[in-house]
């Protein structure tokens, strides 16, 4: 399985990848994008099985990237990992077709809870 991690912060991409490992999802291929625009392009070229994306990013936000993916017919499983987890944002994420929203800071347990339905342990 291949996971696309999208965040404009390098350290946050590292932390997401580390937390994937800590929550029992080591061994999957991980590719990285720095913003929503790059993520949309990489979904086409890399064909990931899951996208874990930040919300606020330069160039294109995570929610805009998700909208563009769905508009283009892509049904790639998509979840947010973001510093804002208000009910309003969770509702917007779900309406746009996201599977889950994990608020930062997160724990390996939170990751496992969100990912266990979509990703096999490697």
């Amino acid at each position: 399985m291949k996971i696309l991690v999208v965040d404009d912060s390098r350290v946050m991409r590292q932390i997401v990848i580390r937390t994937l490992r800590q929550s029992g999802y080591a061994g999957h291929d991980v590719v990285e994008a720095e913003n929503g625009l790059q993520a949309v392009e990489m979904v086409a070229t890399e064909k990931p099985d899951l996208v874990l994306s930040d919300w606020n990013m330069p160039e294109m936000s995570g929610i805009d990237a998700l909208a563009r993916l769905r508009a283009s017919g892509s049904q790639v499983p998509f979840g947010f990992v973001t510093s804002e987890g208000s009910e309003e944002m969770r509702a917007r994420a779900a309406a746009a077709g996201a599977l889950f929203l994990i608020a930062k800071p997160f724990t390996p347990e939170l990751f496992d809870e969100a990912l266990s339905a979509v990703l096999p342990r490697a």
């Binding site: 912060s9 390098r10 350290v11 946050m12 590292q14 932390i15 606020n56 510093s83 804002e84 987890g85 208000s86 608020a103 930062k104 800071p105 997160f106 724990t107």
Partner: protein, 161 residues
């Protein structure tokens, strides 16, 4: 206009989760940033772009938190403290710490929604108006934070109106 001023436990829990280490916290004297006491200041604005709150990290905590979040060796943080300025990697990491720390304000139902507007890193000149806000007494909380394996420093959360 209802900015949530976080209590010590909220700060401890957020930093512990974020840095992946059990940080300890105790009350501290108010942090007064200035030429002799360099500090990183994160400026948070509300939806009308008004400055609503600041989070200040003194130089040691800037270096230790910026290093701990990215598993940067403690030596890099110690060198930064000795030199009085933060290398690029610690600045970038600390920006993410301050970005996520917005949860301290936003996780309370009914509180004003804030976002990180700017970060002024320790060792660089701080705009005068930001410095004046940082020196405000009153609605603020000052804590000494000990980051295991790195060291201790002071964090101040200041409400600006």
């Amino acid at each position: 206009m209802k900015v949530h001023l976080p209590v010590a436990k909220e700060v401890r829990d957020l930093l512990s989760d974020l840095l992946g280490k059990s940080v300890s916290i105790e009350p501290a004297a108010p942090l007064a940033p200035g030429p002799k006491r360099p500090a990183t200041i994160g400026v948070y604005v509300d939806d009308s772009l008004r400055i609503a709150a600041l989070i200040c990290f003194d130089l040691p905590l800037s270096a230790y938190a910026g290093a701990a979040i990215g598993l940067v060796p403690p030596k890099t943080a110690e060198d930064a403290v000795a030199q009085g300025t933060l290398p690029e990697v610690l600045r970038e990491n600390l920006h993410e710490v301050l970005n996520i720390a917005v949860g301290l304000f936003n996780s309370t139902p009914g509180a004003d929604h804030l976002r990180l507007h700017a970060m002024h890193p320790a060792g660089e000149p701080t705009p005068r108006d930001v410095l004046v806000h940082a020196l405000t007494l009153g609605r603020r909380t000052d804590m000494r934070v000990d980051v295991p394996n790195y060291g201790a420093g002071v964090i101040s959360v200041v409400q600006t109106f």
